[in-house]
């Protein structure tokens, strides 16, 4: 009696699910034709913020890329071209004139004017507002006066309105690649409606941001759940090929991956590491890769005597088999690097470190011994980022190829590692990663290796290098600037303050319900290109 009742219970859910499966399979088998009335579903993490000047992580910037249209975007050669701007010009690289295209409106109907840009940038630069992207404005004149606890100025003196659609930006010193910067999230305009008083962001703006982009908000930001946007009909620029986008929030990529496999989600921007080896068979040609801006390096504390000789640094670089590590540990989800800038920026050249990038154990050992390298090497890393495997592999290679003792040293978090490095504690070589802020060679060189660079933790200082960077910034054209930066990169190759190891890649996948999925250099899905399949 009892057993039969138990059987009945289990039979019921089975019957229900079978019915549902039958319904579900009806939608499969797309013909490949584009469906402009469908919405697509894209994976993101919970954004930290949805205010342009406060968004630095990729999830928030992905959502904002739907709601806003940037001043410039980047072409095949990673050079900027105007989108919401009509023209961006400068005679001297110091005063830039930005002319806006006519006809752009915010989603609430407001005309987009030069003032919108000026208000937004002023808000972002004003220190007491605590905006994450505030440092993007530091090149603009008057930025310094807006810093500190009670700044003397509330607006950037370098921003001047000329007419409704034109304004000028004066930089505190010449910068030839300013135009490249303008494609970043921080430079979007804010409507008047975003402010409750001049310089005060309206409460609740972030919950349903109003932009001037191809999509507008549908409802509000549903925290931990989703952000939905729909096509904005009055958008004058290039039209998207889908009716809307649902940005679905995931905490774990493995969950998103399972959803893509079963067509419950359309795009996953990062295939989780544990699924990389099977992604090719799971998804077939729906598993795709594109270059990303990340660069992983091993950095030397050049201020320490053991590592002050460039030959020691070169020998260590030559003793590391990058190709083997990227293949066996990263399953080709990253690419071996032999330059100091990423392939996603204009001016990138392959293999700038030359001989130091060639794996040659015999030469490496001879050079290492001749230069008197230390008999024990420590590689420090942050233990929370999944770096143990490649650090251990690198250590094993150094042991085998240089005949030295090598240990990996895990610090709990990256912040702990940085604290020790900043205090010049002997942590040995340490890992560093760099993600660009805007696609320019300068962004890979200036902050990391110039004497006063914000992320120069290696104590590297080369007056010649600093001079070349300054010359690049004031060069008359972008191409001339690139020449200077390339010369600066060549200096780095001689000194090798860090060993370039790997470039990041976007390893993304999509469902059978979408096509033309592209992930750009900011790790965002290109929302103007993606199409839904009927």
């Amino acid at each position: 009696m009892r057993v039969r009742r138990l059987a009945a219970w289990t039979a019921l859910p089975l019957a229900v699910t079978l019915g549902l499966v039958a319904c579900g399979s009806g939608g499969d088998g797309g013909s490949g034709e584009s469906d402009p009335n469908a919405a697509v579903r894209i994976e993101i993490a919970e954004p930290q913020h949805l205010v342009p000047t406060n968004t630095t992580e990729t999830s928030g910037s992905q959502v904002l890329s739907a709601l806003f249209s940037p001043l410039v975007d980047y072409d095949e050669a990673n050079k900027p071209y105007e989108v919401a701007a009509e023209s961006i010009t400068s005679q001297d690289n110091t005063t830039w004139t930005i002319k806006l295209k006519d006809g752009y409106t915010f989603h609430n109907g407001e005309q987009v004017t030069a003032e919108n840009y000026i208000d937004s940038w002023n808000y972002g630069a004003y220190a007491p507002n605590g905006q994450n992207s505030s440092y993007f404005f530091e090149k603009i004149a008057g930025y310094d006066a807006m810093q500190g606890e009670s700044p003397s100025a509330k607006t950037l003196s370098g921003l001047k309105k000329v007419d409704d659609l034109t304004f000028t930006v004066t930089l505190s010193e010449p910068y030839s690649e300013f135009k490249s910067m303008l494609g970043y999230t921080a430079f979007y305009p804010l409507p008047k409606a975003a402010f409750s008083a001049p310089g005060v962001l309206a409460e609740g703006y972030e919950q349903a941001p109003i932009g001037q982009g191809p999509f507008k908000m549908k409802g509000t930001w549903q925290h931990d759940a989703k952000v939905e946007v729909e096509k904005y009909d009055a958008f004058p620029g290039e039209q998207p090929k889908v009716a809307g986008v649902e940005f679905r929030i995931y905490q774990q990529l493995t969950a998103a991956y399972a959803d893509v496999l079963s067509d419950n989600l359309d795009v996953i921007k990062t295939i989780p590491t544990e699924n990389l080896s099977t992604a090719g068979t799971d998804l077939g040609d729906r598993f795709q890769q594109s270059p990303a801006s990340t660069l992983q390096v091993l950095a030397f504390p050049t201020f320490q005597k053991e590592f002050s000789n460039p030959d020691v640094r070169k020998a260590i670089s030559m003793a590391i088999d990058r190709d083997e590590i990227t293949r066996s540990i990263f399953k080709d989800s990253q690419q071996p690097a032999r330059s100091f800038v990423s392939p996603v920026v204009a001016g990138y050249r392959e293999n700038t470190i030359g001989a130091a990038g060639e794996f040659d154990p015999a030469k490496a050992k001879a050079l290492y011994q001749a230069a008197g390298g230390p008999s024990k090497i420590t590689l420090s890393y942050n233990g929370d980022g999944g770096h143990k495997d490649w650090i251990d592999a690198t250590c094993n290679q150094l042991k085998a190829n240089l005949g030295v003792d090598c240990v990996g040293n895990a610090e709990p978090k990256f912040a702990d590692l940085l604290t020790k490095v900043k205090a010049k504690q002997p942590v040995g070589l340490f890992r560093m990663g760099w993600v660009m802020d805007y696609p320019s060679m300068e962004n890979y060189l200036g902050p990391l290796y110039s004497t006063n660079g914000s992320s120069n933790y290696y104590g590297y200082s080369n007056p010649e290098f600093d001079k070349l960077l300054a010359e690049g910034a004031s060069a008359p054209s972008e191409d001339a600037a690139i020449k200077k930066y390339q010369a600066a990169e060549d200096l780095l190759a001689e000194d090798l303050p860090v060993i370039p190891l790997r470039y990041g890649q976007n390893n993304f996948g999509h469902s059978t319900k979408v096509k033309n999925v592209e992930v750009d250099l900011f790790d965002r899905v290109n929302l103007l290109k993606i199409e839904a399949v009927k």
Partner: protein
């Protein structure tokens, strides 16, 4: 009984403050650099650092700083204000969104444990050493041996992705059906334990004197089992399930992560990962209350099940 409840409630107040103090102290001691943790591997600008430091009193360090921040937190808490997380969201709002779905999930898990665990446990207890008994023993050992971190992705892959019997993830605002698979996964461990407990308890009570008396009075077997044996056998099971309610709510970190359910465990995990002290302490404070209440309910249920137990 009334005095007992009042006394327990008073104890709960002390326990609540004690645990929040300990949790707050642990988060305080273990905190490295939450501002850097928030920014990931990006450099943090001085302006941003100053802004967050001032907003969350992160410059108050040492013993004095600790008590300053703790009392600041507690006085806000007593006014019903749980504070803001480091990304500026109200923790009260986060919890209000997270609790309903976690409670639903825990209820499904408990229901699964009670319906299947207790029923199968009674059957196995009555038919000791039968094929059914041995089969459940084997099955429960298997389930007890597999940790959730393995079981949840396996269930998701086979039942959700491969055979598509269930949606692979639940997402926000899930319906009952979407929560069923995670509920079963979450409940399976409690199910196995509840089954073993019930089986042992029933098997033991079947040999008790009062059962022989009942049988010799000529009572039908069904009545003997369902009224006399079951009621007496449930005390250890209720104890277990009472504690398990608390475990299920806090312990759903893995399950909620795998099935993408934005509940309490999901937020707790994020709070710990980003060193978001206010968020972690807020969630744990509420969890403490859940534990305390479920324990009180268990104690009261003892008296209901066994009239010999009296509280003064």
């Amino acid at each position: 009984m009334f005095r007992f409840i009042v006394r327990r409630l008073l104890q709960m107040v002390v326990a609540f403050f004690g645990t929040t103090l300990i949790v707050y102290a642990l988060m305080f001691a273990g905190q490295g650099d939450p501002i850097q943790a928030l920014a990931g591997e990006r450099p943090v600008t001085a302006a941003q650092r100053a802004y967050l430091t001032e907003k969350y009193h992160l410059d108050a360090t040492g013993v004095g700083g600790f008590f300053y921040r703790y009392f600041d937190y507690i006085s806000n808490l007593l006014r019903g204000n749980l504070g803001e997380s480091l990304t500026g969201r109200s923790i009260g709002d986060i919890l209000a969104g997270a609790w309903p779905v976690t409670i639903k999930l825990a209820l499904i898990a408990i229901a699964v444990a009670v319906i299947f665990g207790v029923t199968a446990g009674v059957l196995a207890g009555i038919r000791r050493a039968s094929i059914f008994d041995n089969a459940t023993l084997l099955l429960t050992l298997l389930v007890l041996g597999i940790p959730t971190i393995v079981l949840a992705p396996l269930a998701q892959y086979f039942l959700g992705v491969k055979w598509q019997l269930f949606p692979p993830t639940s997402g926000a605002n899930p319906d009952f059906y979407a929560l069923l698979l995670p509920g079963i996964v979450l409940g399976s461990l409690s199910l196995a334990t509840a089954l073993r407990l019930t089986r042992t308890s029933v098997a033991e009570n079947l040999r008790a004197d009062y059962v022989r008396t009942a049988r010799s009075k000529g009572l039908p077997r069904r009545r003997v089992v369902s009224v006399h044996v079951l009621r007496n056998s449930l005390i250890p099971v209720i104890t277990f399930l009472g504690v398990e309610v608390g475990n299920l709510m806090s312990g759903a970190i893995i399950t909620e992560g795998v099935f993408n359910i934005p509940g309490v465990g999901f937020n707790l995990f994020r709070g710990i990962r980003t060193e978001d002290g206010p968020l972690v302490v807020g969630i744990v404070s509420v969890l403490v209350v859940v534990y305390l209440i479920s324990n009180l309910v268990v104690d009261i249920l003892y008296a209901v099940l066994d009239p010999r137990i009296r509280y003064e």
